[in-house]
Every structure is written in structure tokens, then in C-alpha cells.
């Protein structure tokens, strides 16, 4: 069963002479438990695609279905709640809430839903991420790699159907980058999550089950990766 379905997705910015077509008629689908890499040059439309898949932006035309739900048929509020429960985000610049400590940052999506976090699961998650002795630290007290691990933890806290990662290793050295990648693969393996990663990093592409190549807003190729999970 496909967790993600993108159907003729287009996104245009601006009007008339200044109009930019960031995304043109992109269609693809991703089954559950797949690790997908989207690669392409800067300005090729990968980030726009990711934002549309995550319900952050609105497409100019086309449909996105996550878990069978038409994302853009939902109201703004419903989409926020859907995002909170079904989608986990990881960003290049970590984007943690600076006033919350590691544990609180990870639990935040649950708290937004007025739910008490499953303590055991969160403890497991923190342990898996190797952050047990950093639980009470603020983001400013962590290294970049550690911060990104917190962001992964936050993305996985709600056990979302899909995890979307935008250059998750972009701000990290190669050792930390590899570690983050391993964690994402672990998520696919352990929790059967679907992960979509945008990256320049050829290592990431090499690790993926499947690689989508973008150019000028179009999907140019869709290849099965070599490594597999």
C-alpha cells in the first residue's frame, strides 16, 4: 500500500513575467517502509516538493495523499493536526525550540495534542538516539550532531507515518552525518516508517532504497538504489 501519493503536483511563484515554476507536474508514489532520497541541483524544486508533501505549503495544482488522506482537502487547522500526528520533519538547521530541553523538545508534538507522552517509548527513543545523559540539556548546550538527533527524536515521537528530512546532514561533519543516516535507516527498519530525504550528499543517495532525481522542477529519473535495507 502506498503511504505517499503525489499526483501531477505543480507549484508556481509570482505572476506574469516574474513567474517561476518551481514544480511541474510531478507524480510518484511511495509504499510504506521505503527510504527515498530526492536529489538534484540547488533550485531544482526538491525543497518545494518536500514542503508540499509535508503540508506546509499549498500546490498550485495537483493532489497529495498521505495514508489515503487528501492533504489539501483538509482545512488549515485539520492539516496542522494531521501534520502533528502523521508527519515528522527534520531540517538542515535543526530548528529546535531553544527554551525547551532535549526531552521536552522531543515530546512537544504530543504535548501540542494534549497527550501525555508514552514514557517508556520516549525513554527508548532517547536511548536509541544516544541522548540519555543529555536529556535535561538545552539545545544551545549540544553539538550539531546531537541537536540533529534531537530533531530526529522529535520527528519520531508521534510515530508518524512518514518522516520528511530536508538536508539532515547538511550542517554536520561526515561522522555525525553518517550517524544521522543510520538513525533514519533504523527508523525504517524498527518502526516501519517511510522516510524521504532531500540531499546533495551522494552518500545519502547511495544508502537509499530509491532515488528520485529532480531538475528544473521536473522529476527526471526514479531509480532503485543499490544498497537496500
Amino acid at each position: 500500500m502506498n503511504v505517499i501519493e503525489a499526483d501531477h503536483l505543480s507549484k508556481k511563484y509570482g505572476k506574469d513575467s516574474t513567474m517561476v515554476e518551481a514544480l511541474r507536474e510531478v507524480s510518484f508514489s511511495v509504499p510504506q517502509g521505503e527510504f527515498v532520497a530526492i536529489v538534484g541541483a540547488s533550485g531544482s524544486g526538491k525543497s518545494t516538493l518536500l514542503h508540499l508533501l509535508g503540508g506546509l505549503d499549498r500546490p498550485s495544482s495537483g493532489i497529495v495523499r498521505i495514508d489515503g488522506e487528501d492533504l489539501y482537502a483538509l482545512k488549515e487547522r485539520e492539516r496542522a493536526v494531521f501534520r502533528r500526528r502523521k508527519i515528522g520533519f527534520i531540517f538542515q538547521s535543526f530548528n529546535l525550540i531553544p527554551v525547551l530541553n532535549v526531552e521536552e523538545n522531543i515530546q512537544l508534538p504530543l504535548l501540542l495534542d494534549h497527550r501525555q507522552p508514552d514514557k517508556e517509548y520516549i525513554r527508548d527513543l532517547i536511548q536509541t538516539l544516544g541522548l540519555t545523559d543529555r536529556r535535561k540539556h538545552l539545545p544551545s548546550e549540544l553539538s550539531g550532531g546531537q541537536q540533529q538527533r534531537v530533531a530526529i527524536g522529535r520527528a519520531l515521537a508521534y510515530r508518524p507515518a512518514i518522516v520528511l528530512a530536508d538536508e539532515p546532514t547538511g550542517n554536520l561533519d561526515s561522522a555525525n552525518g553518517r550517524e544521522v543516516l543510520e538513525l533514519l535507516k533504523l527508523a525504517v527498519r524498527q518502526y516501519h516508517q517511510t522516510v524521504i530525504v532531500i540531499s546533495h550528499d551522494m552518500n545519502v543517495a547511495a544508502e537509499a532504497d530509491r532515488v528520485l532525481r529532480m531538475q528544473d522542477g521536473r522529476l527526471m529519473s526514479d531509480t532503485r538504489g543499490g544498497s537496500g535495507v
Binding site: H51, L56, A80, R83, N95, I97, P98, L108, L112, H114
Partner: protein, 840 residues
């Protein structure tokens, strides 16, 4: 952490500096509201107290009542207190003095403007109270507790026990006639006609019931002034005007409060808007973001409002205390009550809270509507900055790189610029409007001049014109007594015709009076007839006229040498149609102009005399501050004598001449009058022909009222000015501290600290200049609107307080400049890398 709501607490804690700035803003605003409330309430209390002192506490009365009306009123459920007075018969004490014992009931003492100095009110028809000065004129000079023989209300002489003395009134002493009161028989209602004073029961809606009573009896009179201060005027127009004036003032304060808090909140939200965007990406709904901002507002409000209430009250207390210590010594602190009313505390807290929510509303909406995509793009600030080109080049660009950068900074971020300028505009505008309003309140409510200070007068019992009743040496001796401010002679004034050149006469003057004046041609010019009064001012009076001098001189020698007089051109003519008084300058004479005076008022060509305008006074230093429709002139002795020669003397009468008929003695504020009183008593004992009028007690009360009023008004302005300055400092500093990263960046690309400081200083000055300008403009407009309302109460010219307001603008400019310096030196000392790292 049990819920996402705790996030707001975390934000507040982590951004302690920002939170404190916001709380300071709330404190200042609430302090302002509570200070204004307390001030306004104390002001009204003070005016009401004064009206009751002068006019009595009754609500309405009848000058001619009978037993039937009295009983009707007594049985009326609305009437709470009912006093009456039956005029008694005079008792002649000797050739000069008379005392009249009137019969009253117990309520009368509470309702009438009579004031006990010592002892108590009579409790039966054998006891009496009288004025203090009367005691020494009664046979045997009785004291409290002694008996005195007086003609009773029925005209028959009887013996009364004196149980109390009342405060002396000036009129009774001047007229050598005094009132005394005894209590009527229990339950006795007098026969015939008498005066009735009545007060409603507490809680009765006075204004709506007053009309029904006006037709019940003859010579109905409402205690209008006092009712007006109670907000119960029978004249609905006055109530409405009061409501509009106070509505405007309070509305202005609420608006500015909300604006100030909004400013700070807005900045605080703008700077964090990226984080709100992040929360949106992980699934926070707009409502959740809004509620985060409102939670912050609530916490800040709960901290700021109670402190604000305390600060407002404390600032007033301090202002008043400082003023008392720096000269207003007449008041003791314990006499001076700053009333704490529950409604002021509750009202200020409520308005403060509402302002906080109102102020948080727009920033909360802004935070909630932030697009998550823009937040995750993460390229620095996501607040879109619009840079407008093609406008007039800013004058700041002439100040080197710093100036150019300052000009660009100001244009780059319009909303921040507007916020900062707006808080200065509000401060200057508030100060301007309140300055205008308090100045006019002072003008309308207090008629204060040197006359207030006169505590004693001395008159000869029989006026003999041949030689002065007191020598200059005697007067000098009195003047040198400790506590005495001045000793002035009293002289008769002379009326005169003043022919004013047509171009010097205010055309509105005769249109208010609805009269057409006489005119004449002289030396080819047209002159218009007006009335004038020429007063003789001796050297002491001239000397103490100096504070009122607008132009010219008060030097007696110079005036005499130039054949010159002082004039007061301001008058308050009464419109004969509606009885409304209008204040205006009837003429526009300048120092050095010639006055054409006809003392004989005969219009014969040879009776005209010319005098020079030697000085112009803002108001009369003694007597009535403004005359109704006469040009008020004050002449030194020689000039007066010269003018007086033209006054025709009726056959069989002697010329009044520059003849002194009495002296007035003014006391310094708060001075002990024991020494002068003893000296005067010795004088009376040695010179049986003279008598003293002792109004020291009354003078002290009146002076106290006037001073209290001034203390309120100036205290008020000090508080508003202080709070306004703090507000400017707060906003300008918030603005700078939030731009640390930007300053770090500028330093990184090679801007020196000096250039940076210059840039920030120029921005500060520019904020101050623009803020002052718009504050002045809006303040002027609002003052004018208030003026339109106030002139419904009493006609007056629009006097905009230019000097005070311009000083306020200068201070705003200076505060703008100075408040930049503190944060700048902190920024220049800060580590560059740290500033750059700071979360944008």
C-alpha cells in the same frame, strides 16, 4: 512540562530582558492610569470640598419659605436634611458695630457655609455662636462659656451663653455687622417667612428630582457649583461637558496605554516569529500559537499591573512630597490625603488588563498567521522588510556613513520605526493635552492672586479725610514684623472713561456685550468709548505686582516719571442674553502707548488727559483678578493725584483724593501670625479710633485650597512627564537591544564603534524629532477639541501652553538621544561573535 502552554513561561524566563521591558511598559501604563484616576478623584474631591466650604452643603433652598412649605419638605421621602434660618433683630453694640442673632435649627449648621473655629454649636435656645472678632466688641469682652446680652430673634433682649465662635468673614468685618446664631426651640417651626436649606437623602438621583422642587416655593436656588462637582448639576449641559472632557482624557490614556503595551509586544513577537513558524511545522494550530501569546500577556499583566498600581500611587505621593518640601509649606503632609478609591484600583487594573489583551491581540494574530514554509527556509529574519525608494532625501544623509545608514535603517523597517516614533508621539501628545487641560482647570477653578494672602485689615472707625489714620512709619513697622509679606494701603478707586483708538479695541468685546459703544473723532482718528477704573497702587502694591507683569515695569519712580500706569487688558464680559462669561483681551495696547482718559466722564475737550502705558499685567494682583468690562488701571501716587484733579467735586462734598481708608496685611505662606496679631492688638489699644478685621483663619483655608489645587495640577504634570520620558527610554532601548545581531554584522564588515554610535544617536534624535513634531501636532488638535468643550462652560481664548510644550519636545529629543547611549556602550563592549550568534 505538562503541556505546550508551559512554553510561554519558558519564553518569558529565557528572554528575561525582553520580559522585563514589557513588564516595565505595563507598569508605566497602569501607573499612569491609576495616577490620573487618583489625581482626578482628589481634584474633584478638593473642588467639591471647597464649594461646600464656600457655598454650604445644601443641595437647594428657598429664600422665602413658610411653615407649609417647610412641612411639605419635611414629609418628602427624598429630603434628608432640612435647615432653616429666621433673620433676627440687630443689636447695636456702639455707634459702629451691629450684631444680628438669627434663629436656626440644628440641620442649618450642617448645610450652611458657617464654620466653627472653637467650641461647639448651640444646643438650645439659650446658647449662641458668633464670629470670633465680635467677642472683643461685646460688653465685658466675653469668652466661650460666658454670657452675653443680645436682642433675641423676637427683638427682646435676653442673655445667651456663648458656646462657640465661628471663623471671621471679611464682609462682616468690613461692614461692621456680624451674624450670630441660636438654636430654635425643639420642634419649633417659625411663623412668617424664613429661609430654608435642604439636602437630599444619600443615594437619591439629584439631577432628575431637582426640577420638581424648583416650583414648590418662592426664591428657589440650587447650589449649582457644588452640584456640578458632584456630577449632579441641574444644568444638564454642564454634566454633559464634564462627561465629554473626562471621557476624552480617559479615552486618550486608555488608547496610549494599549499602544505602549502593543508596541513592546509587537516587537517581542516579531523577533520570535520564526519560532512560531517552527511550532507550526511540527503541527501547532494557529489557535495554539495565539493562546501561547495570550498566556504570555496574562503572565506579564499579572506581574505588571499590581506593581503599576503601587508605582502610580507612589509617584504621586513622591511628587507631592517633593513639592511640599520645596516650598509649599502651608500644607502638612497629614492634612493632605491622597484618596485611595476602590474604583480607581479596580478600574486601573481592569483597563490595564484590557489594554494588555488588546495590545496582544494583533501580535498574536500575526504570530499565528506566520507561514511555516517561510519559517523553515530559515534565511535570517522572515519579517519582510519593505524598502521604499524615491522619496525626498533624508536630512540625516548629510552626516557621513553613520547618517546614511541611519536614514536607511529608519526607512528599511517601517513598522519598527512607526512603533518607536509612535510611543514618543503618544508621550508628547499626552503631556501637551494634560498640560493644556490642567492649566485651564486652574484658570477656571482658582481665582488666585495676592489678595489670597491678606489675613488682616485695619480700618478707622470713622473716616476722616484730613489726615491719614496711620503713618508710614507705623506701616513700615508692621511690614517688618516676622511672617508679614506686605502691608498695603487701601484707596478709593475712580471710574473713568477711556477712549480707545478703534484699531486697539477688540471687536469681540462689544459683540459679547451686545452693545454699540459711543464713538468720537479726535485729531482725525476714530476713538471708541470704554469704561475704566483707576486704582492707586502704593509702592508696596506695585512691588508685589511684579510677578504678574507681562511687559514694561512696575518701578514706582519710573512710572511716575513717565506719567505711566499699569493696565490689565483682560476682561470677562458677560453675555446679557445667556449669562455666559467670556474671557478676552478688550484692548491691544503695548507698553509706551498713550491712554486717552476722561476722569470727569463729561466728554468736554479740556477734560481729556493722557497717560502712558508703563506696564501690562496678566491679571489684577489685588482684588478681582479680571474685571467684567472695565479697563483696569493701576497708577502710582503722583500719577493718580494728577489724574484725580480732573474728577469733579460735588458741592458740599470733599474730594476723595488719594486718601487711604485702610490697610491690608498679607502673610507669608505658613507663617505664624501670633506676632503681627499682638502688634495689631497693641495698636488698637493705643488708638481707639481703629478696628482690625481678622480673616487669618479664612485666608488660610482659602489659600490652602488654591495651593492644593496647584499642587495637584503640577504634581499631575510631573507624573505624566516622568512616565512619558520612561516610556520613550523603554521603547528606544528595546528597539536597540533587539538589533544586536545587526550591529554585530555592521561591526564585522568594518564599521567602527564610533560610527555605530553616531548612527544610533542620529536614529535616536530623528525618532525624538519626528515624535515631538507629531506629538505636538496631535496634542494641539486634541487641546483645541478640549478647548471647544471647555469654552461651553466659560468663554475664553485658546491659550496653548507653548513654553511648556516646547520644553517637553526638547526633552523628548534629549531623551531620544540619551537613551541610545546606554545600550550602545553595552553593545560596543559585547563580544562580536556572541552578537552575531544571537538568535535573530
Amino acid at each position: 512540562m505538562n503541556g505546550y502552554g508551559a512554553l510561554s513561561g519558558r519564553y518569558l524566563k529565557q528572554q528575561r530582558k525582553r520580559s522585563i521591558l514589557t513588564i516595565i511598559g505595563i507598569i508605566l501604563s497602569v501607573a499612569l492610569i491609576s495616577a490620573i484616576g487618583t489625581m482626578g478623584q482628589s481634584l474633584t474631591d478638593n473642588m467639591l470640598q471647597r464649594a461646600i466650604y464656600e457655598q454650604g452643603a445644601y443641595h437647594f433652598g428657598y429664600g422665602k419659605a413658610d411653615a407649609k412649605l417647610y412641612n411639605e419638605l419635611k414629609n418628602n421621602v427624598l429630603v434628608g436634611k432640612l435647615g432653616f434660618v429666621t433673620e433676627g433683630q440687630d443689636t447695636a453694640l456702639d455707634d459702629t458695630f451691629k450684631i444680628r442673632l438669627s434663629e436656626v435649627n440644628a440641620d442649618f449648621f450642617e448645610l450652611a457655609p458657617v464654620h466653627l473655629q472653637e467650641g461647639r454649636w448651640p444646643q438650645n435656645d439659650r446658647e449662641a455662636v458668633l464670629e470670633q472678632w465680635m467677642l472683643s466688641h461685646l460688653p465685658g469682652k466675653p469668652k466661650i462659656g460666658d454670657e452675653a446680652k443680645l436682642n433675641g430673634p423676637d427683638g427682646k433682649p435676653a442673655s445667651y451663653r456663648i458656646v462657640g465662635v465661628m471663623i471671621n468673614s471679611k464682609n462682616s468685618q468690613l461692614n461692621a455687622e456680624s451674624s450670630a446664631y441660636t438654636l430654635t426651640n425643639e420642634g419649633g417651626i417659625p411663623s412668617g417667612n424664613f429661609i430654608v436649606l435642604a439636602a437630599f437623602k444619600p443615594g437619591v438621583d439629584i439631577s432628575s428630582h431637582l426640577k420638581a422642587f424648583s416650583g414648590m416655593g418662592e426664591k428657589f436656588k440650587a447650589n449649582d457649583q457644588m452640584l456640578a462637582y458632584m456630577g449632579e448639576s441641574s444644568d444638564n449641559n454642564i454634566n454633559k461637558v464634564f462627561a465629554i472632557i473626562f471621557g476624552t482624557l480617559i479615552g486618550l490614556v486608555v488608547l496610549s496605554t494599549a499602544a505602549v503595551i502593543y508596541n513592546i509586544f509587537h516587537i517581542s513577537v516579531l523577533e520570535r516569529i520564526r519560532q512560531f513558524g517552527l511550532l507550526r511545522t511540527i503541527g501547532a494550530t494557529p489557535a495554539q500559537i495565539r493562546s501561547l501569546v495570550f498566556r504570555e500577556a496574562t503572565v506579564l499583566g499579572i506581574i505588571g499591573i499590581p506593581i503599576g498600581l503601587l508605582v502610580g500611587w507612589g509617584a504621586l505621593w513622591l511628587a507631592i512630597k517633593l513639592m511640599l518640601e520645596s516650598g509649599f509649606k502651608i500644607l502638612q503632609m497629614e492634612d493632605f490625603k491622597l484618596t485611595v478609591h476602590a474604583w480607581i484600583i479596580g478600574g486601573s487594573a481592569l483597563i490595564g488588563l484590557l489594554s494588555v489583551y488588546l495590545a496582544a491581540w494583533l501580535p498574536a494574530r500575526k504570530a499565528a498567521s506566520v507561514s511555516p514554509v517561510e519559517a523553515v527556509r530559515g534565511a535570517g529574519s522572515i519579517v519582510r522588510e519593505s524598502f521604499r525608494r524615491g522619496r525626498i532625501p533624508s536630512p540625516l544623509q548629510g552626516f557621513g556613513v553613520g547618517g546614511k545608514m541611519a536614514a536607511k535603517n529608519i526607512r528599511r523597517n517601517r513598522s519598527k520605526f512607526r512603533i518607536t516614533t509612535f510611543s514618543i508621539v503618544i508621550s508628547v501628545c499626552l503631556f501637551t493635552v494634560f498640560h493644556y487641560f490642567t492649566q485651564e482647570t486652574l484658570f477656571i477653578t482658582t481665582d488666585s492672586n495676592e489678595e489670597d494672602r491678606i489675613a488682616f485689615s485695619v480700618y478707622p472707625n470713622r473716616d476722616t479725610s484730613d489726615k491719614p489714620f496711620m503713618t508710614q512709619e507705623q506701616m513700615d513697622d508692621l511690614a517688618s514684623t516676622s511672617g508679614v509679606r506686605g502691608v498695603y494701603g487701601d484707596y478709593w478707586s475712580n471710574g473713568s472713561a477711556v477712549w480707545v483708538p478703534e484699531n486697539k479695541l477688540n471687536p469681540n468685546f462689544y459683540s459679547v456685550l451686545r452693545r454699540t459703544p459711543a464713538e468720537m473723532q479726535r485729531d482725525g482718528a476714530k476713538y471708541v468709548f470704554t469704561n475704566g477704573i483707576v486704582n492707586l497702587y502704593d509702592d508696596a502694591r506695585l512691588k508685589d505686582s511684579a510677578p504678574y507683569l507681562v511687559a514694561g515695569t512696575v518701578d514706582p519712580k519710573k512710572l511716575a516719571a513717565d506719567n505711566a500706569v499699569l493696565i490689565v487688558q483682560t476682561v470677562k464680559p458677560v453675555d446679557p442674553k445667556d449669562g455666559k462669561r467670556t474671557q478676552l483681551d478688550m484692548t491691544s495696547y503695548k507698553v509706551g502707548d498713550k491712554l486717552l482718559i476722561d476722569m470727569s466722564q463729561s466728554e468736554k475737550p479740556d477734560s481729556f488727559q493722557e497717560v502712558t502705558v508703563g506696564g501690562i499685567l496678566s491679571q489684577s494682583p489685588f482684588g478681582e483678578t479680571y474685571l467684567k468690562d472695565n479697563l483696569n488701571m493701576m497708577a502710582p501716587r503722583q500719577v493718580f493725584e494728577r489724574l484725580n484733579k480732573a474728577v469733579p467735586v460735588q458741592p458740599g462734598e470733599e474730594s476723595q483724593g488719594p486718601h487711604m481708608y485702610g490697610i491690608d496685611i498679607a502673610m507669608k505662606d505658613g507663617a505664624d501670625n501670633g506676632a503681627i496679631r499682638a502688634k495689631l492688638q497693641a495698636l488698637v489699644d493705643s488708638q481707639p479710633n481703629i478696628r482690625i478685621s481678622d480673616i487669618a483663619a479664612q485666608q488660610k483655608e482659602e489659600r490652602q485650597f488654591n495651593l492644593q489645587m496647584q499642587i495637584f495640577v503640577y504634581g499631575f504634570l510631573i507624573v505624566i512627564g516622568g512616565i512619558g520620558s520612561l516610556n520613550i527610554i523603554n521603547t528606544v532601548q528595546t528597539n536597540l537591544l533587539l538589533r544586536r545581531r545587526e550591529f554585530g554584522l555592521l561591526q564585522a564588515v568594518g564599521m567602527t564603534v564610533r560610527q555605530l554610535r553616531r548612527m544610533a544617536s542620529l536614529e535616536g534624535i530623528w525618532y525624538g524629532a519626528l515624535g515631538s513634531f507629531w506629538g505636538l501636532v496631535s496634542g494641539y488638535v486634541l487641546s483645541y477639541l478640549l478647548f471647544i468643550e471647555l469654552s461651553g462652560l466659560q468663554g475664553m481664548p485658546f491659550r496653548f501652553p507653548w513654553p511648556g510644550v516646547l520644553i517637553a519636545c526638547g526633552i523628548a529629543l534629549l531623551v531620544g538621544l540619551l537613551s541610545v547611549q546606554g545600550p550602545m556602550s553595552r553593545i560596543s563592549k559585547a563580544n562580536l561573535i556572541d552578537s552575531l550568534r544571537e538568535e535573530a
